[in-house]
């Protein structure tokens, strides 16, 4: 068995600043994951459908626009609709402290701000997937 963890990295919403998302995508690749990068301006529908087709274990959402409280629940809802409720959802970007708990309560497995170490993200992923961190 050559099971590989597959991660979708997407930028929902309208802001076009994808440097952070690309850096995370690369860092996760260097941690041994298969990262599917979908680029900017993705709708929740597009993200959920891509997650389904690629059969990913993790969906990472990069949001800098401040629209996370609108976008994240819609992505989670779409994933559920498609039968992908097991997928680990992570959020990265500029997220105010007061929103973090709300996002976690929605089912997000981790929220990461600027300066997060890759190892933290990897640990969250491995824990959420019930694997031993490498």
């Amino acid at each position: 068995m050559d099971r590989k963890v597959r991660v979708l990295v997407a930028k929902p919403g309208l802001d076009g600043h994808d440097r952070g998302a690309k850096i995370i995508a690369r860092a996760l690749r260097d941690s041994g994951y298969e990262v599917i990068y979908t680029g900017i301006r993705q709708t929740p529908d597009m993200i959920a459908e891509a997650a389904l087709q690629e059969d990913v274990d993790v969906v990472g959402l990069s949001i800098l626009s401040g629209a996370h409280m609108a976008l994240v629940p819609r992505v989670i809802e779409k994933l559920k609709e498609l039968g992908m409720e097991d997928v680990v959802v992570l959020v990265g970007g500029i997220i105010p402290d007061e929103d973090v708990q709300t996002l976690l309560d929605m089912g997000v497995a981790g929220v990461f701000g600027p300066g997060t170490l890759t190892s933290e993200i990897v640990e969250t992923i491995e824990n959420a997937l019930g694997r031993q961190p490498a």
Binding site: D2, K4, E34, I36, T43, E49, A50, G83
Partner: protein, 342 residues
């Protein structure tokens, strides 16, 4: 969603047949990960496959393959044909991870239920990649997609192997991506059924087109005779034995980013498909592919079987002996095989 059981071979194949995209995605994962369900799934789906036209798209990195695939799939969708896309990117040899970014260029296809895109990493499997790709193609075929487009990494021998899984191989070039000698080295002249010179709005496109055409004419010398000052005249010669009529790869100009030439390119692919069907080339390719596939699977299976029943300690001893130059590797293998074959 329905409460279809997507954990069994029966449930998965049934759902896949009913057009369940989640089932399709799961089946592909089973095959990629080589799980216990992989073989039974392949066996169940194989009889359903064989209808799709399979198109391989290859070419150096940066020539615009993904964008062109996006356009081709778009044209096929306008013609009411469904499209499965397999986009292959390399696995990092250092981390074992991969960054699969072809979807960025295929966003026009998002949300269309007639399109299914799957990104695949090479996973560093020697030769195994070609087999895994062939298996995933088969699954998309069985799922009922009319056209299947495989976009390859763009370098090396594995391209040629993957191309052998396609009926029509499209080689994408771009102006200024290297001279014609590079094309010869890469062996793409032999595998191409169609050339697309992409980024045709750039300088040097005519030179690239001309260079390719010249090279192609060298490859099929019976069709042209070089006259004074390089002027070439077509010559009618008797047909070659196997192929009823030769197919000379057309060289087409495209601008993938605007969609220019995509219609003509699709037309060329469809012409090639008809040519293969009418000339019997498709049957020929199917046989060749089956032969190659069987040999590859036999090789892997034999290796596995042999390794499984070879005593690890004995194997280790042989490795040491070869490393110490006490025995040559060929004789060592004969010892290992014969000893265990009795």
């Amino acid at each position: 969603m329905t409460n279809t059981d997507l954990t069994t071979v029966g449930g998965l194949t049934q759902a896949l047949e009913a057009g369940n995209r989640r089932a399709l995605a799961r089946v592909i994962s089973h095959i990629e990960n080589n799980t216990d369900l992989a073989l039974p799934l392949l066996a169940a789906l194989y009889p359903r496959s064989g209808k799709a036209h399979i198109i391989g798209v290859t070419g150096a990195p940066g020539t615009g393959k993904s964008t062109l695939v996006n356009q081709l799939a778009g044209v096929y969708r306008q013609r009411n044909l469904t499209v499965g896309v397999i986009a292959i990117d390399p696995t990092s040899p250092f981390s074992g991870g991969a960054l699969l970014g072809d979807r960025v260029r295929m966003r026009d296809l998002a949300g269309d239920p007639g399109v299914f895109i799957r990104s695949m990493a090479t996973r560093g499997s020697l030769g195994g990649l070609a087999q895994a790709t062939a298996d995933v193609i088969m699954v998309l075929d069985a799922a009922g997609f009319d056209r299947i487009i495989i976009e390859t990494v763009g370098v090396g021998q594995s391209e040629v192997e993957i191309a052998s899984a396609a009926y029509t191989t499209l080689v994408v070039e771009a102006p200024g991506m290297g001279d014609e000698v590079q094309a010869i080295k890469a062996g793409i002249l032999e595998i191409a059924d169609i050339f697309a010179v992409n980024k045709a709005d750039r300088e040097g496109v005519d030179r690239t087109v001309m260079a390719l055409k010249m090279m192609l004419n060298l490859g099929v010398p019976e069709k042209f005779q070089v006259m004074h000052h390089g002027r070439m005249l077509p010559v009618n010669l008797p047909e070659t034995e196997n192929l009823p009529q030769g197919w000379t790869p057309p060289v087409l100009k495209t601008v993938a980013i605007s969609g220019e030439g995509a219609e003509e390119l699709t037309e060329a692919i469809e012409n090639h498909r008809l040519y293969l069907e009418q000339s019997g080339g498709r049957i020929l390719r199917d046989r060749l592919r089956a032969a190659t596939e069987l040999r590859m699977i036999m090789r892997d299976y034999l290796l596995e079987t042999l390794l499984a029943r070879t005593d690890a300690a004995v194997l280790e001893e042989m490795v040491e002996a070869v490393a110490r130059r006490e025995i040559d590797p060929y004789t060592a293998v004969r010892h290992l095989v014969n000893e265990k074959a009795v």
